[in-house]
Symmetry: C2
Subunit: 153 residues, 2 copies
Amino acid sequence: MKLSGGVEWALHCCVVLSQAESPVPTARLAELHGVSKTYLAKHLQSLARAGLVHPTEGRDGGYVLTRAPEAITVLDVVQAVDGTEPAFRCTEIRRQGVLAAPPEQCRSACGIAKVMAGAEQAWRASLSGVTIADLGATIDLAGLKHILATPTT
Amino acid sequence: MKLSGGVEWALHCCVVLSQAESPVPTARLAELHGVSKTYLAKHLQSLARAGLVHPTEGRDGGYVLTRAPEAITVLDVVQAVDGTEPAFRCTEIRRQGVLAAPPEQCRSACGIAKVMAGAEQAWRASLSGVTIADLGATIDLAGLKHILATPTT
Ligand code: FES
Ligand code: FES
């Protein structure tokens, strides 16, 4: 099982944005994290498409969170970047081969698919119980506010 | 997030093996599930490497579970096929860029990595709470014992 590598960047960016008092340009977010602007731009666009961040125009253009960090869960960010498709995808193999179950036995999900879906539900519940505000409180943000207040290089 | 497609086959095969009274040849497992022998062989080898199934030699050669289905969890099978690597892999981006955290602040995992690991722990706990015996009880196995008792075509 593998999550998109962009999840780590996206979560760190959201924590930074939660501390900013004005829009943060992509260049600044890239510099803060020591990553290329192009790479980060892609993930910021995913966050924007999911309605979590909003690009602002003009000389001070950059990104802002669209709502309070208390109202954005880790799951929101993970799914914005990694998608909402389940990790386990049942291909209905129970309907194949000499043991094929008749359609009337397949009205509800296969017992195996149910167990796999239950585990993903537990994963999602865990991630939706933590917000960007909670993450901000666990991460050492010393220096961040100061850097955010100085002009982009 | 995506799990290997082999997980569905491997779980269904383990349920079949849990119902068998003698070794089940790969050809029979393939026929039961309507899938190619070569495809299934690969996943059966992963299960064997993880010590969940055991290949038997000779004319009646096939696979058997190495222990009681009550003692094999869904997590055992999933990890045998999909590996044990975490889905979220922290690349320590907190140590990069102008905000780089000093090493003494990085002795314990980043707060973001901890939250992601906690969610995967919930996923694993959910899957390790269900055994192959439990799955066998939820799946309609009518006909299976009869088919298993007749010679391979
Ligand atoms: S048919 Fe897909 S998990 Fe059983
Ligand atoms: S440094 Fe990897 S999750 Fe924060």
